[in-house]
Amino acid sequence: MNLLLRQAWSGLRLLLAFTVILGVAYPVAVFAVGRFIPAQSDGSYVTDAQGRVVGSALIGQAFEGPEWFQSRPSAAGAGYDSLASGGSNLAADNPDLVSVVAHRKAAVAARDGADPASVPADAVTASGSGLDPDISPEYAMLQVARVAASRALDPARVRALVEEQTQGRLLGFIGEPRVNVLALNLALERAT
């Protein structure tokens, strides 16, 4: 017991010394280097044409109304609550998930005047973070006609915006093709 206590006393002192190195100096050092790229280390904030901060390029946000491209469904709090990140954790055979997916599918199809079979999976499922900033290019294209009509814009112009905002795979194979919803809606605002 005496031996164990002596070891514990050494362990406590080593732990406290390591706390200074690993718990304070290390994160502060990373922070200091991060000052060279403040945009990323602060949170990739995005401003609109007037210079007003409207959110982060990385954190998805909710858009309501036919004039906006819509984000994916979100299980973070009441939806895109960035202080309550997380997924639904519903199982693939959970009847609640089946009915909510069916409901979303019908709603998206009705809203965008599309065939339910053409509604992509990301449009009817909640992401893991609940803060997914992206939608698939298919889901963005599906929304073009409705957004254009609501803003009295030429659909071809809106389609061109979607194409412009579509990010392909890095080097042709890394990641998935996607459209950042906030960036797309900002481009849309500039065009309107």
Binding site: L14, L15, P27, D42, G65, L90, L97, G128
Partner: protein
Amino acid sequence: MTTTAAGVLQFALIVLALAIAYRPVGDYLARVVESPRHLGIEKLLYRVSGIDPNADQRWSAYVRSVLAFSGVAILVVFAVLRLQAYLPYSLGHEGMSPLQALNTAVSFVTNTNWQSYSGEQTLGYGAQMVALAVQNFLSSAVGIAIAVALVRGLVRTHTDRLGNFWVDVTRLTLRVLLPGALVFALVLLIGGVVQNFADTTAVTTLAGGAQAIPGGPVASQEAIKLLGTNGGGFFNANSAHPFENPSGWTNLIEIFLLLVIPFSLTRMFGRMVGDVRQGYAVLAVMVALWTAVTSLTVWAELSHAGPALQLAGGAMEGKEVRFGVPMSAVFASATTGTSSGAVDAMHSSFTAGGGGLLLLNMVLGEVSPGGVGSGLYGVLMVAFVAVFVAGLMVGRTPEYLGKRLRPREMKLVSLYILLTPSLVLAGLGIAMASTVGLSSILNPGPHGLSEVFYAFASASNNNGSAFAGLDADTSFYNVGLAVAMALGRFLPICFVLALAGSLASQGTVQPSAGTLPTHRPQFVLLVIGVILLVAGLTFVPALALGPIAEALS
């Protein structure tokens, strides 16, 4: 390019990066633990801690040091979590409740990183940094140290000394984990992972809504969370959160970080025993299991079985658009195979087959390739069983690398093999038989049982991932899982070190015509067979009631 083809290429890139890193990282690890020299800063640490770095410890002293160091760490982390309101950058968060703080302290010290709390709602930056990030380093270093001690037991002869625990932990932290984490924290920073001390920033969104954007020292914690196979997310959504994992390429970096040390440790093993082929054989076991589980999981997710996913037209529930289905599955397989527990997609919403494979990956005993250190000692324990089985077939005393596996050694190996499954099944049984256990379940049907099975498999194997529908912040689960984590970590460590001591005290037997070569494909297959057989015999009934029933219904 199709999603599947892109997935195959991304997987190939990860394999290539791991292959390139294998030798330099493994050789470096061997040099670090074998070098006779102490660095200046290390001498300073030994002096302030009153440690004699040149003492060579018996196995019992090594165990005492592990338990003393970990016990103290649990107390300190518990205290910090309880008292975080008094720390700088607490962001106004109150102290954690006692049982949740106990669960979290045990979780981070045992390298499990099970989280019954939500990071952004519960913890300030102070507690994240000085309590959790510190344990991300130290619990990893402890794991590697145990593996090193076991290898020393195989290498050394006629001695009762296994090295110095304090020196091993200090060196592995300062010479391996800290530089690695620093480099990759900066890489992740470039990718968009945040690193600041700002409170949440209130913004008015483009559409006129309100949003509070969090900050935090995330990059520094993210790098070591993955490199040390810890897995505790800064945010509730873990590596699915865009501030922890912003893009497709950061996702690949994170998967690489999970796997690089567990695989490379087999090179260190080969170097230390003076025959790198022995390391390759163990590596082959890990790679075979990892590749099999990964490809089956990707296949299951691409099939998007299950009524809700069939209706949606793809397994995107709980997954992020920027990662896509295949790479979410690759991440999930890597994290459950490395006892990490970081997630970039919600495992509970995987298909029955995909989720079942993740569960299987844990109950294989975390050897595909396993956590830092625990993967290597885990697979070596199974290798001992394999030579024992082979020895029984020909009626000889089994030996591995010239060390005899006598009844004393085999008893320790058996205890090791039996302990974790006992914890998992006992925990599952108690939970399913009690109201408090059942009331936390979210999903109906077999998936509900899988949630509880997954929780105890994750805790007992020190993984930390979850079928997160389960409400784990209850007295029952906070305490029950803390017990599973503590016993699942420290009892196996005691068995491994006792075995190492027993092996070190032997001389070396010269190989004879009857010795089973342990570097050939035949032996690799035998080890894989033992792993599958042990897991199969133990867990098929439980798997049948959970994921298999869900897949068939």
